[in-house]
């Protein structure tokens, strides 16, 4: 009985902390309606199993993904951002995915400069038939981000603000 209780407590603990390591990455995904979103539906219909860390936001075309969405997701606490679009040449809107690719190239550089590791931001071409790929990409990304640990931008922003405030106070005190 006591053992069972203990198990129950243990279980509760792991559930609030995620896994034993205590960190469950939060990943925001932008999937295009025609290929990757449909592929994720197919993964569901095929009852494939993958990590539950990804939250999908549907867009009509990966070309709709504004760099601001990605920055905003990181700023609001995402540990990773995944974009899924049609394979090159397969875009429902002819070449929206290429246009996204251009932005992604630049954004990768910018994120790197900001100290956000490459593995936190990923672009994948997943066609409507590739349910299996949805699974492997998500699992792989969750593992990689898990290894990197939490990004915690909101917390870091708060710490930075506090530090800045402290410096200002110090400067004011010195001035007085």
């Amino acid at each position: 009985m006591a053992g069972a209780m203990l198990n129950l407590i243990m279980e509760n603990q792991t559930s609030t902390n995620g896994t034993a390591s205590g960190f469950e990455p939060r990943i925001v995904a932008f999937f295009c309606n025609w290929c990757t979103y449909t592929a994720a539906d197919l993964a569901g219909v095929s009852r494939l199993k993958y990590a539950a860390n990804v939250r999908v936001v549907r867009v009509m075309c990966s070309g709709r993904v504004d760099p601001q969405f990605i920055l905003d997701a990181f700023a609001k606490g995402a540990d990773g951002v995944l974009i899924g679009g049609c394979h090159p040449g397969d875009c429902h809107y002819i070449e929206g995915n290429y246009k996204l690719l251009r932005r992604v190239r630049l954004l990768h550089r910018m994120l790197r400069d900001m100290g956000i590791e490459d593995d936190r931001f990923r672009l994948e071409w997943i066609s409507a038939a590739e349910g299996e790929k949805v699974k492997t990409v998500i699992n792989d990304m969750v593992e990689k981000v898990r290894k990197l640990g939490p990004l915690q931008l909101p917390q870091r922003f708060r710490d930075g603000d506090k530090e800045l405030e402290g410096e200002q106070l110090k400067a004011e005190a010195a001035h007085v």
Binding site: Y37, V45, V57, M60, G63, R64, G96, L100, E132
Partner: protein
């Protein structure tokens, strides 16, 4: 003079989907969670939201609780978004005040931990609740449908679909790549299980196509471009030069006799290379259209320009015209039926069966021509070396049900192998062995046909053939092909020497299926056949509205199933056309004029040329009629002055906020 701020009153409905969702997601927890979110007036869970009572629930709540936003957490929007939009509209709300959350395909079906799945559902519902606040009332645009239909592929599927549509009074364009329609079926001798003659049932349909007033038949042609959208496609068809004018040729075939090549020496594709033809030819006597065609790779005049051109002189109608060039025809259609068929498995990819190495190894299609009374041997089963076979081995599942070639069952091979066994035995009196893995006869009168063959004395060996070669172990095997197989019923390995081997090759997608798929903006499944919208409920639809599938391009099937599917595709196309108009998603983009800086970065991004720059205003403007709603310009606009209905920045940002909020 701002409008009074409307109080947001959201109704959230969490669907159990029986146990599909409730089995993995704690739906009660999700509903409770949602009820505590700001703006949520009503939050419920229900067994089946898509059922009538489920939809009624939404309608009533809108009335009773004065709801003005609806969130349903159930399955994929690709499945039921329209259902719930309609339910929302029934309650008197604009249907676009609704948002669907996918907690089945994207959640309960793919996760194994109830707590994680529930947390994810909460996050997704949270996002939707945040999102619907900024939804706006929108209306669907109605566009008239062009009543003409394009049918691509002139096999039995395309023929049947074209005739059905034409009989219903619709204008049909039938485009076929080969010089004649008829497809694979025209090559067959008999059809299983009834053994009725393929030509007798097909050729009348082929001539009806030719003579039908509503059908324009373009053979030796391919679709090279397709633009537009459901109801209003603009198609370019490239007509290859056949160097014979279709309007003048009567199919008398004088030109063929007159050709400078006295002997027919080039393999005739229609006879699988077993028969020969000249550079100018008619593929087979019932070819439709019955118009000669000149093979540019064989004709001396086309290749070198040096030829007597005796064919030209022989034609008293002056039909032969070497000045023909490829010609592009533009047509407008409302719907497209894709019926491009299949390719037979290339038996050389299974080298263990010796095709291409041993001349007496044949593919099933070659044998179809051999047993055909109008084939190259007039139905006499005679081997490439001139002998008549005394023993014949038919190997099933070549290029089917194999890990390293194709994994699928090609569905028709068991039955056509039985048919060929019967025909070969009937034509040659040979002893026939069938080597099968499993005997698959699930169709009307199929099993009975198998039983008939058993009684006819055809031998059946259950086991996958390991190899075919000419390895002689004792003198009696000299000059024979040896089939080595594990007979799984006897439990022993057997060597069976035969004179002729027939490979029951499977069906696979055309080599250029990927290009065709891109052309029509449809998808292929993992095996490369075109992907239907839903395997059960939308088997002839694709993910692109207005494009329908028929026949083996969607997956292997026999003639009755192909014809049934072609009828279904025609019916779907008719339903679309006869509705008179299509409704378009109002997800188009528009420019907020006062915020546009006139930088023009959006203009070249639009693949549909919907954006133009107005010089005098120094602003960009979007033509709503041309916009397809991809949102690429929206994502690229540096001043955020382009907005996309249904996917406004504020809506996406609130979704991001929602999925990342603590749950």
């Amino acid at each position: 003079m701002s409008k009074p701020v409307e109080e947001i009153r959201i109704g959230v409905y969490v669907c159990h989907c029986g146990t599909n969702i409730a089995g993995m997601v704690d739906v009660k927890n999700v509903a409770d969670f949602a009820s505590r979110l700001p703006g949520v007036t009503v939050s419920r869970e229900y067994k089946y939201m898509c059922s009538d009572p489920g939809q009624e629930l939404i309608r009533q709540d809108i009335k009773e609780h004065r709801l003005n936003r609806i969130v349903v957490a159930s399955c994929s929007p690709l499945l039921h978004e329209e259902t719930f939009r309609a339910a929302t509209a029934k309650g008197g709300l604009n249907p676009f005040f609704f948002h669907l959350v996918n907690i089945r395909e994207h959640d309960s079906w793919v996760h194994e931990n109830r707590q994680d799945a529930t947390a994810k559902a909460n996050a997704l519902v949270h996002a939707a609740v945040e999102r619907v606040r900024s939804h706006k009332a929108l209306t669907k645009k109605q566009v008239p449908v062009n009543p003409a239909v394009l049918v691509v592929g002139g096999g039995i599927a395309g023929i049947h679909a074209a005739l059905t549509l034409a009989n219903a009074g619709k204008k049909v364009y039938l485009v076929e790549r080969e010089p004649t329609i008829g497809g694979h079926m025209a090559k067959f001798d008999k059809t299983f299980p009834t053994l009725d003659c393929a030509a007798c049932i097909l050729t009348p349909k082929m001539s009806s196509v030719k003579s039908h007033k509503n059908i324009t038949l373009w053979s030796y042609s391919e679709v090279s471009r397709i633009e537009g959208y459901v109801g209003n496609f603009e198609v370019t068809v490239r007509r290859q030069p056949r160097y014979v004018r279709e309007d003048l040729c009567v199919g008398c075939m004088e030109c063929i006799d007159a050709c400078v090549f006295k002997e027919a020496k080039f393999p005739n594709e229609f006879d699988e290379g077993l028969g020969k033809r000249k550079p100018i030819y008619v593929p087979f006597p019932q070819a439709t259209p019955k118009v000669a065609v000149i093979d540019p790779d064989r004709c001396l005049n086309v290749k070198t320009g040096k030829c007597k051109k005796s064919c030209v002189a022989s034609c008293d109608r002056g039909a032969i015209d070497f000045t023909q060039k490829p010609e592009d025809r533009q047509i407008k259609v409302g719907a497209v039926v894709v019926a491009t068929g299949f390719k037979a498995f290339d038996a050389k990819r299974s080298p263990q069966y010796g095709y291409g190495v041993y001349p007496n190894v044949y593919t099933s299609l070659e044998v179809e021509r051999l047993v055909n009374a109008s084939g190259p041997t007039s139905g006499e089963v005679v081997l490439r070396d001139g002998r008549h076979p005394k023993t014949v081995g038919i190997i099933h599942c070549v290029g089917s049900r194999e890990e390293h070639t194709n994994r699928w069952c090609s569905r028709v091979c068991c039955m056509y192998s039985l048919k060929l066994a019967h025909l070969v035995k009937e034509h040659s009196g040979a002893e026939v062995f069938n080597f099968y893995i499993d005997m698959r006869t699930p169709g009307k009168s199929f099993e009975e046909f198998y039983q008939k063959l058993l009684k006819e004395g055809v031998h059946f060996v259950r086991g996958k053939v390991a190899e075919v070669n000419d390895w002689v172990l004792d003198p009696s095997e000299q000059g024979k092909l040896v089939i080595r197989v594990e007979d799984t019923l006897l439990g022993t390995v057997r060597r069976i020497p035969v004179d002729m081997v027939v490979l029951g090759v499977g069906l696979e997608p055309h080599a250029d299926a990927q290009e065709v798929r891109r052309l029509f903006n449809i998808s292929c499944g993992t095996e490369g056949f075109f992907l239907e919208r839903h395997p059960k409920l939308a088997p002839v639809n694709t993910f692109t509205d207005g494009i329908f599938l028929a026949g083996c391009c969607q997956g292997p099937k026999d003639i009755p199933d192909t014809v049934a599917q072609a009828g279904a595709a025609a019916a779907e196309a008719l339903a679309l056309i006869d509705s008179g108009h299509v409704e378009l998603e109002p997800n188009t983009a528009y420019i907020v004029e006062e915020e546009c800086s006139g930088c023009k970065s959006c203009v070249p991004l639009c693949p549909y040329k919907a954006i133009s720059y107005v010089e005098d205003k120094k602003k960009a403007v979007i033509n709503e009629a041309l916009c397809k709603g991809c949102g690429t310009c929206v994502g690229a606009c540096p001043s955020s002055s382009i907005k996309q209905n249904l996917f406004e920045d504020e809506q996406v940002f609130s979704e991001i906020r929602g999925v990342l909020a603590d749950v």
